[in-house]
């Protein structure tokens, strides 16, 4: 039963009458900087009302203020952006949880927008809602063709754009950015995950579903098509995570989470070798390190933010990418094939998780 239009009043959004075709409306929105460049679904009031009907909160409910431009985030305004992004109403609770995660202070969304470092918010869904809604975690998990993945991530990005001011004309300062800035949402592939789900690893009850927001600077792909021992896969992953130019080696004190996405074949072999989820993170913590001497005078050396004690260490001291094993976010996703990947974290952020209500 749709909610009455009166539910939208209060801190309601402006009502516009835009004459013309869908193309004209798209031009109107694009020219005002309200889209990401892709076509949008015009957010007609009846579509916004349908979107709102998918959650228990009134449209005027305020979720917070979205930096850097501090727009007031109401449920109605998120619903408008969800319509524009192409979401089905059933996806709306995930979008709302994602927006809530983005608004958690430690996520530092204002700086994610304004950094030159090209951070894109990524949203990882864990729990039964992924299967219910068809949020994809399998073949070509970061590729195209899956409406929940494409539109949930896009809805949150449009919300950041239209309420937070994440536009290149104003606050967006990425030197490059990357396509994850259009949308980046995926699910853990529980059917092929040899371990407990991500949200249980993060301390949530198995019965709930969660969305975890991270700030990712890109995706590094890792092929290991020769080793089958499990540990051989981890060794190759470690070698990818100890390359030059990874900003996290200078900002451990900030607590940002790199995301490691194991393909199901690799995950199965690692589990068969006796590694639990905890063991994998401990292995990565122990081995994803670079000699201090190799970091000196390079990257973000001049602005490093790490434990004071390391300043007295010798050049052969092995500097870890993170300060604790649990800082890594470990996910199993993808299809068949000898591939895994990892996402370097943008540095001045901590991950944020919300239960999907």
């Amino acid at each position: 039963m749709p909610k009455p239009v009166q539910a939208l009043v209060g801190r309601g959004a402006s009502r516009l009458q835009v004459p013309g075709s869908v193309t004209d409306i798209n031009d109107y929105f694009y020219e005002r900087g309200w889209t990401d460049g892709l076509p949008i679904i015009p957010p007609a009031e009846e579509l916004v009302v349908e979107m709102l009907a998918a959650c228990a909160l009134p449209g005027a409910h305020v979720l917070g203020q979205l930096p850097p431009l501090n727009g007031t985030v109401t449920v109605e305004k998120v619903a408008i952006n969800a319509v524009m992004a192409g979401c089905k109403p059933a996806y709306f609770p995930v979008v709302l949880a994602g927006v809530r995660a983005v608004l958690q202070p430690q996520f530092n969304v204002g700086s994610i927008t304004t950094t030159t470092g090209g951070a894109a918010p990524g949203f990882i869904v864990s729990g039964s809602i992924a299967e219910t809604l068809g949020i994809h975690g399998g073949t070509a998990v970061f590729g195209s063709g899956h409406r929940p993945n494409a539109t949930i991530g896009r809805a949150i990005r449009l919300t950041m754009r239209n309420l937070g001011g994440a536009t290149a004309a104003t606050m967006e300062k990425s030197t490059h950015g990357w396509p994850g800035k259009y949308t980046l949402c995926f699910a853990e592939y529980q059917a092929r995950n040899p371990w407990e789900p991500l949200h249980v690893d993060l301390g949530y009850p198995a019965a709930v579903s969660t969305v975890t927001a991270v700030a990712a600077r890109g995706i590094h792909t890792v092929v290991e098509a020769t080793q089958e021992s499990g540990e051989g896969v981890l060794q190759t992953l470690v070698s990818s995570m100890t390359a030059g130019g990874i900003s996290g080696y200078a900002f451990q004190a900030r607590g940002a989470s790199p995301v490691v996405v194991l393909g199901p074949e690799h995950a199965a072999e690692i589990a068969a070798a006796g590694f639990s989820r905890k063991d994998v993170k401990a292995y990565l913590f122990q081995h994803v390190r670079l000699p201090l001497g190799q970091l000196k005078g390079r990257g973000h050396w001049g602005t490093r933010s790490w434990p004071e004690a390391w300043e007295k260490e010798r050049d052969d001291f092995l500097v870890p990418l993170v300060l604790s094993p649990d800082t890594f976010v470990l996910v199993v996703a993808g299809g068949d094939g000898r591939h895994s990947s990892w996402m370097p974290a943008w540095s001045a952020t901590e991950r944020a998780t919300e239960v999907i209500a």
Partner: protein, 64 residues
């Protein structure tokens, strides 16, 4: 204080915080790769501009 690449962002942020016209000291971009000595020199050269901006802001606030 902001580098050239962030001038628009600083102005927009000031506007969002209800402080249009908030003074902004603009430094040459980039600074991330500069050495400590260079940054100290930049800081020394900026003191006058910072004081001037602070004083003018106070004066404006006083007259408001």
């Amino acid at each position: 204080m902001i580098t050239q690449g962030f001038v628009t962002a600083a102005q927009q942020r000031a506007l969002a915080l209800g402080m249009p016209g908030h003074p902004v000291i603009v430094l040459e971009h980039p600074i991330a790769s500069k050495k400590r000595e260079h940054m100290l020199q930049l800081a020394r050269h900026s003191v006058e501009a910072v004081v001037s901006a602070l004083v003018s802001s106070l004066r404006e606030a006083h007259h408001a």
